[in-house]
């Protein structure tokens, strides 16, 4: 095992795959000479040269489309969005082109592109730079949506995403970039579409992805002190969703809280709770509860920002309600 940061894990995944496959290249704003706005691509220009690590102008729609076309021609682009807020400009290429190309072409054109970058809120960057949009992407057939919560998952999942023949939306989290975690020293891949039980427990299932996995684990610690044994599941891949692991857990705990940073309306929690209702209704002893970001744009003021984001305390409270202890 090696102890590395989340950003180093992503860097290693890209470097290893670029060494393995000459068709893989990295393109985005500030990825080369600046070593990445968040230093995820540190050293990659030196290692691979300007043909494979490419700085772009600020033209998200254009270079996302470039990624689609290059992938159709057999390359394996990694297209970095400085943050997913800016990928909104590229949504046509992601949703209308990348996601549907294989289907529209009757299976002729695969689009093995990875769109990656930071999603969710950073700190105090206000409405246009603080939003979790994974539910938008996860709504689209043809896309795979991956959101790692720790360094080991980040590395193994990104390698899988790069090797995958479909367009993968890979959403990182800026606040997690500095997190340190143990990562296997030998090469490994984490298959897409597999959830991970981050903490086993008997009393209540907490489902949480990306930065919220850490929040759920912290809530589980607090709940343990109160005599509630929470199981924490990280779906890791949002689409396709590993509902089996979630349903098995709920069959054991009979209670579930879904946590997400994004807005509640038609969110990931809505999807998961609907699936539990459809396929695990008889296992439930209480309604599935959701802890989400508040249904408002993100404000700048520190107090409003804290209120808008989900908190560990809210997760604890929801788990207490779900287990009848509130």
């Amino acid at each position: 095992m090696n102890k590395i940061t989340y950003r180093e894990a992503l860097n290693q995944a890209m470097c290893e795959e670029m060494e393995r496959d000459a068709n893989v290249f990295l393109m985005g704003e500030e990825v080369a000479e600046y070593n990445g706005a968040y230093k995820v691509s540190q050293g990659m220009l030196d290692k691979f040269g300007p043909k494979r690590v490419i700085d772009t102008p600020i033209t998200e729609l254009g270079f996302a489309g470039l990624g689609v076309g290059a992938a159709m021609a057999g390359l394996r682009p990694i297209i970095e969005f400085m943050t997913w807020n800016f990928a909104i400009l590229a949504m046509d290429q992601i949703v209308n082109a990348a996601a549907k190309m294989l289907y529209m072409s009757g299976g002729m054109y695969k689009v093995p592109v990875v769109f990656r970058g930071a999603g969710g809120s950073a700190a105090r960057v206000a409405a246009q730079h603080s939003q979790a949009l994974e539910n938008w992407m996860a709504n689209v057939p043809g896309l795979k949506v991956v959101m790692p919560s720790n360094p080991a998952d980040a590395k193994g999942l990104l390698k899988a995403a790069i090797r995958d023949d479909d367009p993968v939306v890979f959403i990182e989290n800026e606040i997690n970039y500095g997190d340190v975690g143990e990562v296997p020293a030998e090469e490994y891949i984490i298959p897409l579409g597999k959830a991970d039980i981050k903490r086993p427990g008997r009393d209540v299932t907490l489902v949480a992805h990306s930065r919220m996995t850490g929040f759920a684990l912290a809530a589980a610690e607090e709940l343990a002190k109160q005599g509630i044994d929470a199981e924490v599941i990280d779906p890791r891949t949002i689409r396709p969703l590993d509902e089996k692991t979630i349903l098995q857990s709920v069959a054991k705990t009979n209670r579930c809280v879904v946590v997400e940073e994004g807005w509640r309306f038609a969110g990931i929690g809505a999807e998961i709770s609907a699936r539990i209702m459809e396929k695990g209704f008889d296992d439930l002893d209480a309604p599935v509860l959701r802890v989400t970001g508040k249904d408002v744009p993100m404000a700048y003021a520190a107090n409003l920002e804290a209120l808008t984001l989900p908190s560990v305390a809210e997760i604890v409270e929801a788990a207490r309600v779900a287990t009848g202890r509130a």
């Binding site: 600046y34 800016f86 400009l89 206000a126 509130a326």
Partner: protein, 352 residues
């Protein structure tokens, strides 16, 4: 060159390329540039003390663009820009305490603490943001210009973007429509040579950005953005062009930001010599001071005294802003809808 003259009524003035500036107007421009400089320095300090959070983009070095264009515009003209907006909103005449309070996330912030550094707005002064997504303000500016065409209200829109922002596709869609319908818009490019860590030549095939409108038949001019009198003169011409119904015009102001892109950028992509060359050789505030001193219109001591006063004023503003409370927590739920429907928040995010 600027020369000292006396106008018809015998009051002292300075003539720059045929335009006469009264002593009062010169002092106004100078004082506002210096005020913006000291305000930004204070903001930088407050950021260092973690009193300001998130992204904070300062405009040190670019003051002449903000102030010169403001002096060329009318109060009813619309102005909108990117996230590097403190200088513009201050030049527009907004309450500096409210701007500082916004940076600090306070209740009395210019947008109630909701927007922070990147999202300054002042409807009363027709300042339409403060936009965080690169290039986003350009089509919005087009829409403001359209409204003036539609209403024939005689207003001009000053639509400001960076040398990085110029490469967004929406800019060209806007250029085409603005030219097609002859909308009263001045597209102003603040070419400060860098978009984050990317120098102009690494992002733009055509680095003469004022030519970017040619294929849309939009006339363009390049101006010295480090000279407030040049900015005032050429922006006046550009605004007149747009106001007279001749359609949009493109102005590229050559300028430089002294600080990093934002407070977290060490700016290692450029040399200290390069920064010094601009800072000491072309500083817009020192330049106007020298012009005024050479013309015998002011003295060095006078400017030193002013600087002391402005610094004091900025310190007082920061103190006053800091003393304000944070926004009321209930503000989290306001301003989402102009016509909130009853139970507009069916998901308050509360458990139970």
């Amino acid at each position: 060159m600027a020369t000292k003259e006396e106008n018809a009524s015998g009051t002292p003035a300075l003539v720059f390329e045929g335009r006469e500036h009264s002593l009062e107007s010169l002092h106004e421009m100078h004082d506002m540039m210096l005020f913006i400089r000291r305000f930004e320095e204070k903001a930088g300090q407050m950021y260092g003390l973690k009193k300001i959070g998130g992204f904070c983009h300062l405009c040190n070095g670019q003051e002449a663009v903000c102030v010169g264009m403001q002096h060329a515009a009318r109060p009813e003209d619309y102005m909108l820009t990117s996230y590097r907006d403190h200088g513009h909103v201050l030049a527009r005449g907004s309450d500096p305490t409210a701007v500082m309070a916004e940076l600090l996330g306070r209740a009395g912030g210019i947008v109630k603490g909701k927007g922070g550094s990147m999202h300054m707005f002042d409807a009363e002064r027709n300042f339409v943001g403060g936009n965080g997504i690169v290039g986003e303000q350009v089509p919005i500016g087009l829409g403001l210009g359209f409204s003036s065409w539609y209403r024939d209200d005689g207003r001009v829109t000053l639509c400001i973007m960076g040398d990085g922002g110029i490469n967004q596709g929406g800019v060209y869609e806007s250029f085409n429509m603005a030219a097609l319908w002859k909308l009263p818009v001045v597209f102003l490019i603040e070419n400060n040579q860098y978009a984050m860590g990317t120098s102009l030549d690494r992002a733009s095939a055509e680095t003469h950005l004022f030519k970017r409108g040619i294929s849309f038949k939009i006339p363009g001019m390049q101006i010295d953005g480090m000279d407030v009198l040049a900015v005032e003169k050429h922006m006046s011409e550009a605004i007149e062009h747009a106001r007279s119904g001749q359609g949009p015009i493109l102005v590229e102001a050559i300028t430089y930001r002294y600080r990093g892109h934002s407070m977290s950028d060490p700016a290692t992509y450029r040399t200290r010599e390069e920064v010094d060359e601009w800072r000491t050789g072309r500083d817009p505030i020192a330049r106007l001071e020298n012009q005024m001193i050479e013309a015998g219109l002011a003295s060095e001591d006078e400017f030193k005294q002013k600087d002391r006063e402005i610094k004091k004023r900025v310190t007082a503003i920061a103190k006053e802003a800091e003393a304000q409370p944070e926004p009321d927590p209930a503000e989290m739920w306001t301003d989402v809808y102009a016509n909130p429907i009853e139970d507009a928040y069916p998901y308050p995010g509360k458990v139970g």
